[in-house]
C-alpha cells in the first residue's frame, strides 16, 4: 500500500464510526420514510404497493390531524412569544448589578434539568389538585376545576408549563449575549445622556440580534417538536370539536404522529404526517433564520 493510500485509509477510519451511525440511523431511515409515505406499507415488511399521494390526501381530510396541525402552530407562536419575553426580561434583571444574580441564574435554569415526563406529571398534579383546592378555599370558581380538563384553557396551561421550563435556558443565551456587549459602548451612551430604556432599545437589542436569531430558532423548533410534556400533562385530552368531528383538544403534532403510527398501527399514514411535519418545520426555521439574519448588524 502506498503512503497516500495509507493516509486515505487513516482519514477514513477516523470518520468511520460517525459515518456508520449517521447513515444507518438517520439518513437511510429518513429516505426510506419518505418512500414509505407513498406506499400502503404497514410496518411488517410485507410486499407494499405504491399508492402515490393517497396517504397525503387522506391525512389532509383527517380532522384530528388538521386540528393538531393548527394547535401546534398556535402553541408554537404563543410559546415563542412568552418564552422569549420572559427570558429577555429576566436576563436584563440578572445582568444588572443586583445582589445574588449568579444564584438566581443557577436557580432559573433548574426546570431545564428535569425530564419532560417528570415535570409534566408534577404540573399535572399541581393543576388538577393544588390549584383547584386553592380555588375552592378562596371561592374562585375559575380555579375550582382543573384547567387541564377544560378545552378552552388547556392550551394556555401547556404554554405556561413550557415557558416555565424553557425560559431559564433562553435566558442563559441572552445573558451570554449581554455580557458580550462591550461596557464602553454602554458607558459612552450613558455619558451622552441616553436613558436606561433608550440604551436597551437603541443599543442593547440591536447588538443582541444574533442571540435573538438563535433563541427564536430554538424556541420555534422546541415548541414544534413538543412531545413528552404533552404526553405527561394532558395526553391529548380533553375532547373538543373541530370541523364537526370530535378531536383531542391538546394533541400536538408529535403526539398525533405517534398515535397514528403506533397506537392505530397505521405506519404509512403516520409517516406521511411525519414528512409534512419535517417539511413545515424546515420551511419555518429557514424563514425565521433568514429573516433574523437580515436584521443582524455588526457590532
Amino acid at each position: 500500500m502506498s503512503s497516500k493510500q495509507k493516509r486515505k485509509l487513516t482519514e477514513f477510519l477516523f470518520l468511520l464510526p460517525t459515518l456508520i451511525a449517521f447513515v444507518m440511523v438517520i439518513i437511510i431511515p429518513f429516505i426510506y420514510g419518505i418512500y414509505y409515505s407513498f406506499t400502503d406499507w404497514q410496518g411488517t415488511g410485507a410486499a407494499t404497493k405504491n399508492v402515490g399521494f393517497d396517504n397525503y390526501a387522506v391525512i389532509f381530510q383527517d380532522a384530528g390531524f388538521l386540528h393538531s396541525f393548527l394547535i401546534t402552530l398556535l402553541f408554537t407562536v404563543l410559546n415563542v412569544i412568552t418564552v422569549n419575553v420572559v427570558a429577555f426580561v429576566i436576563s436584563l434583571l440578572v445582568t444588572s448589578e443586583i445582589r445574588g444574580r449568579n444564584v438566581y441564574r443557577a436557580g432559573f435554569f433548574v426546570p431545564n434539568l428535569i425530564g419532560g415526563i417528570v415535570l409534566g406529571l408534577v404540573w399535572q398534579f399541581i393543576f388538577s389538585n393544588i390549584l383547584p383546592s386553592i380555588g375552592q378555599s378562596l371561592g374562585w370558581s375559575a380555579l375550582s376545576k382543573s384547567l387541564l380538563t377544560n378545552k378552552d384553557t388547556v392550551m394556555g396551561t401547556m404554554v405556561t408549563v413550557n415557558t416555565w421550563q424553557y425560559a431559564g435556558y433562553i435566558m442563559l443565551i441572552y445573558v451570554a449575549s449581554i455580557q458580550g456587549i462591550s461596557k464602553s459602548v454602554l458607558e459612552a451612551a450613558e455619558v451622552d445622556g441616553a436613558r436606561y430604556w433608550t440604551r436597551i432599545t437603541k443599543i442593547q437589542i440591536p447588538l443582541m440580534a444574533n442571540a435573538f436569531t438563535i433563541s427564536l430558532f430554538l424556541t420555534l423548533t422546541n415548541s414544534f417538536k413538543m412531545y413528552d410534556v404533552n404526553v405527561a400533562l394532558t395526553n391529548g385530552g380533553p375532547v373538543g370539536m373541530f370541523m364537526g368531528k370530535p378531536v383531542q383538544a391538546s394533541e400536538l403534532l408529535a403526539l398525533n404522529i405517534y398515535q397514528t403510527a403506533f397506537k392505530y398501527n397505521n405506519m404509512a399514514q403516520g409517516q406521511a404526517k411525519a414528512v409534512i411535519f419535517f417539511v413545515v418545520l424546515t420551511i419555518f426555521s429557514i424563514i425565521q433564520v433568514s429573516y433574523n439574519k437580515s436584521k443582524e448588524v455588526e457590532a
Binding site: E11, F22, V25, G115, I130, D228, F278
Partner: protein, 293 residues
Amino acid sequence: MSASRAKVNQADIPVAQQHRFKWTDVLVQLGLILWAAICLFPVYWMFTFSLKNNEEIFGANVMGLPQNWLWQNYSRALNVGNMGQYFLNSLIVTITSILFVLIAAIMATYAMTRLQWKGRKRMNSFFMLGLTIPIHAAIVPLYTTLSRAGMLNSYWALIIPYSAFSLSMGILISIGFMGDIPYDLDEAAFLDGCGVWGIFFRVIAPLMLPAVSTVGIYTFLQCWNELMFATVFISKEAYKTLPVGIQGLSGQYTTEWGPIGAALAMATIPTLIVYIFLSKQIQESFIAGAVKG
C-alpha cells in the same frame, strides 16, 4: 476592585437619583424572588409529596412539609414499582451512549479539522444535517429496521439511536474546542516522530478534556430524559428506562401518589446532583451548543 468602582459611580449620581435606584432595586429583587419561587416550587413540591401519604397530598397538607416522613414511599417505588431496574437501565443506556458519542465525535472532528483532505467541509455540513432532522421523521422506519434486526427490546435499541442523534451536536461542540488547540503542538509531535494516530491519542485527545465534559453533559441530559424512542422501541420491563417506567407507573398506581412522587424524585436526583457540582459547565454546555449552532 469592582466594589471601589461601584462606590465612585454612586458618588457621581445625584442624591435624588440614588434614592430612585434603591426603589427599582427592591422591585427587581421582588420580581426575581417571585420567578425563583415559581421555578423552584414544583421541584420543592415533588420532593415533599414523595414523602407523604394520600391523605396529606390531597387535602390535609397539600403544600407544607410532610408531617410523617414516609421514607417507605421510596422503598415501595424501588421494590413494587421496579424503579431500581429502570434506574439501572437508564444508567447503562446513558453512559454507553455518552462514551460512543465522545469517541466518535472527537475522532470525526479530528479528521475534519486537522487532517488535510478534499471534501472535509462538505462532510461537516453533511453531519450538521443531523441537527435539522427531527426524530419524528425517522422513528417509524427506524422501528421497522430494529424490529427486522430483532433488536427491539434491547439496550442497543436505545444506545444506537441516542448516540447517532447526539453526534451532530457533539461534533459541533468539539470543533469549537479543537480550534483552541494550537497547531504547533501537532507539528512538534510530528517532528518527534508521531504519526496521525499518535498525535491524536497523545496530544489531541488529552487536551480535549473540557470538550469531553461539555459534550458528555449535553448527551447525558438528552438520553436521561428521552421518552419518544424509549416508548416505541422498548416494551419489556427488563429494558425500560426511567421515563417509560414512570409513564407506566402513573397509570398503574392511580390510587397511591406517594410512591409515584418518590419515583419522580429518583429520576431527578442524579441530574440535580450533577448540576450542584457542575452548574457552570452545564450552563456553558447549553450556551456552547446553542451559540455555535
